[in-house]
């Protein structure tokens, strides 16, 4: 490898040719401020449009300042990252950005977590020159069921565009128009709701300002909790417990399950339940469906569709409903754990506590923004009443706990309520990429082979690789498993199935990087992918600590089938726990 020697702030650096000044500086501990730049290492996404010019540095002998994020090092280069010229230029650039930015920091949803605000603090901006004569560019607000676009706050960093097009390959967003009029928008400036957007929320997860935020349901929740006529219950997704701590300055990967339960109880929820319970239920249904298709396939039934694709992830469901409509029959018909919980809560549980459906409010805490949309789908309503009333994100919950002046750190560890709070290790790992399929395998193996599974950890299914595959031994029968996280990776996998290149039996797909732990509703990682890895590690720690680690051994699941459902894929299950998919492609092409 050819090396280059250069000097940055009087420090000698030797670094491979082709490295940028920004990265070279980082190697010697110099953190050049950036704004539009984003480096998601393990996801192979480096966004360096060189557009904002916050990262400029002075290079000796060069006439103008160089954007360090997109300028490569050269031999003998002498770089100054904080000369007076650099500091003045950065300040001017920032003031220009701010001159066209709404000064709503006090009321902005991103306040305290905004990269632009942080830069203004760091640079000690106290006034914005010529603000009085600056023109403001304005654009209409766009509110969808999950995401709000307030483009007056957009700084055209175009990170959202990179996530939507390059990582997710959804293609909902693009920069449009030019100069002062330019914004990021869907085709023909249609509303997000009418576009191919999947609500995965990865654009929100990387937006440096308040231009892209989630629809906030916390006000509604506060009202419902105060309503004496309502019984408000809550379910929390697996990925929430490994990330919520970050909202309270705990290190990434801290498990806060017990404190999470305690906080929800103090907020006033009548029952604190666990989506993990319905994740176990999902395995019963989805695993049975896998075995049923597999058995038919083995007996020579040519009509059976394989591979079976998981269907827990609503972003992924939206993706195939709009972009892979020829494959609508392949995904499992099992509803997501959020929705299974909702339909069981509003039937089985509502009967148990003798509360009328319309008086029971089911709230979900999710790492996800697509879940907000999912619970509004007509398939998941009975007489207009939704199974899950609304979903709030991990971030929203963090804010709510602070709002209710609950001291998170001093909370005791408390247990979930029953019957919908008991879960196994198999359910916990739903939160990480590869987890759903591992959970399914733990159950499917035992049912299929009628043997006890001695080793429940399938390490071959874990990891951060975008597309992974493994062949498992079902007592002599090789079962081929495919796994993808990120919709771009899912697309590759699906195209291989379509062209007949791959022949998996089962595939797990999650829309977000790392699975739900990297969801669009999680505390912001600000481009630090190490955070996702720590959350994943915490998920597997929680699994290992569980006394029961296979879904079909969950005693409350067994009881639910005995008392209420009958058997997996039975008539009642079919009605309450399964769904169908809709061709949404008309939204793209209408000719």
């Amino acid at each position: 490898m050819e090396m280059v020697k250069l000097t940055i702030d009087n420090k000698q650096v030797e670094i491979p040719k082709g490295t940028t000044i920004y990265k070279a500086a980082k190697q010697v501990g110099i953190d050049i401020p950036v704004l539009c730049y984003m480096d998601l290492k393990d996801l192979n996404i480096e966004h360096k449009p060189g557009g904002c010019r916050i990262c400029v540095v002075e290079v000796e002998g060069r006439r103008n300042l160089a954007p360090s994020c997109s300028t490569e090092v050269t031999e003998g280069m002498n770089v100054k990252t904080h000369s007076i010229r650099v500091l003045n230029a950065r300040r001017t650039v920032l003031e220009l950005l701010l001159s066209d930015h709404p000064k709503e920091c006090l009321t902005c949803a991103k306040s305290g977590n905004c990269d632009l605000q942080n830069l203004a603090i760091m640079m000690g901006i106290r006034e914005i020159h010529n603000e009085d004569i600056a023109e403001m560019s304005t654009y209409r607000m766009d509110t969808s069921p999950a995401i709000i676009r307030d483009l007056n706050k957009c700084i055209m960093c175009r990170r959202c565009e990179t996530m939507c097009n390059d990582f997710q390959t959804v293609g909902a967003l693009s920069a449009i128009n030019r100069g002062f009029m330019s914004v990021v928008a869907p085709a023909f400036e249609m509303d997000l709701e009418d576009s191919v957007c999947t609500y995965c929320g990865q654009c929100v997860a990387v937006c440096p300002t308040g231009a892209l935020t989630e629809v906030d349901h916390t006000r509604q929740l506060i009202r419902d909790l105060a309503n004496p006529n309502k019984t408000v219950i809550v379910q929390t997704a697996p990925a929430v417990r490994v990330a919520l701590g970050e909202m309270f300055d705990l290190p990434a990967g801290t498990l806060v399950t017990g404190k999470l339960v305690a906080a929800l109880r103090r907020l006033g929820f009548k029952y604190v339940f666990d989506t993990d319970f319905s994740a176990d239920l999902t395995i019963m249904e989805e695993g049975t469906e896998l075995l049923e298709r597999l058995t038919r396939h083995l007996s020579g039934d040519k009509t059976v569709k394989l591979p079976i694709l998981t269907s827990c992830c609503p972003g992924w469901v939206n993706f195939f409903e709009s972009q892979f409509i020829d494959m609508l029959e392949i995904p499992s018909t099992a509803r997501s754990p959020q929705q299974m919980f909702g339909s069981i809560a509003k039937t089985y549980f509502a009967d148990k506590i003798q509360v009328k459906r319309q008086d029971l409010v089911v709230v979900s805490i999710m790492p996800c923004l697509a879940k907000k949309y999912e619970c509004t789908r007509d398939e998941f309503k009975v007489d207009g009443n939704p199974d899950v009333d609304y979903s709030i994100s991990t971030r929203e919950l963090g804010h709510l706990i602070k709002q209710a002046n609950i001291d998170f750190h001093s909370l005791p560890d408390e247990e979930f309520d029953n019957p919908l709070g008991e879960s196994t290790g198999a359910a916990v790992i739903f939160g990480a990429t590869g987890g759903v399929i591992e959970a399914a395998v733990r159950t499917a193996y035992e049912i299929f082979t009628k043997k006890k599974l001695e080793k429940v950890d399938f390490l071959e299914l874990r990891g951060m690789g975008g597309i992974r595959e493994a062949t498992l031994d079902f007592d002599g029968l090789p079962i081929r498993i495919g796994i993808a996280h990120g919709l771009g990776n899912a697309r590759k996998l699906l195209e291989d199935i379509r062209s007949g290149k791959s022949n998996y039996h089962a595939i797990e797909i999650m829309a977000c990087p790392g699975g739900c732990i990297g969801g669009g509703g999680q505390p912001l990682h600000h481009g630090n992918i190490e955070i996702l890895k720590k959350r994943t590690a915490a998920i597997y720690r929680e699994d290992a600590n569980k006394p029961i680690r296979k879904s079909h051994e969950n005693p409350y699941i067994i009881k639910l089938y005995e008392e209420f459902l009958g058997k997996p894929l039975g008539e009642k299950s079919h009605k309450l726990l399964h769904t169908h998919y809709v061709d949404k492609s008309k939204k793209i092409i209408y000719i």
């Binding site: 097009n165 909902a172 449009i176 030019r178 085709a187 023909f188 209408y590 000719i591």
Partner: protein, 161 residues
Amino acid sequence: MSRIKVELKKKDVDTIREICKSFNNLPGELINVLHKAQHTFGYLPAEVQEVVARELNVPVAKVYGVVTFYSFFSMIPKGKHPISVCTGTACYVRGAENVLAEFKKNLKIDVGETTSDGKFSISCLRCVGACGLAPVVMVGEKTYGRVSPEMVKDILKEYDE
């Protein structure tokens, strides 16, 4: 941007497909494809962009991004008699702006728009190489020189049917 609904015929879709094919359906040829498509259809309605996007395998949003970035591309059909006012340096200093304002006032449309009856559209261009006649206006293929705002009404009258 205002939106005109168009129903493409199979023949039109085939034409777009051929254009894309002539550029080997390469995403990098998007601008050339759009150029040719606009030349064929006169403008680039959303429906044309959708077919182009599908054929080149690029998101429609990206196609729309390119169409709105370059002023050459238009999503609105030009009028039967497209009016081009030269706003190049020579014409500009000799009062092209006043002439343009007069056209806009008379037709009640802005630059880049078409009258509701589809008769006239206004665009600006930069230098037709007739600076000696500045300010210059073109209506279709016909060139008018030394145009003053007072002449605008008479020019438009020529196209009464």
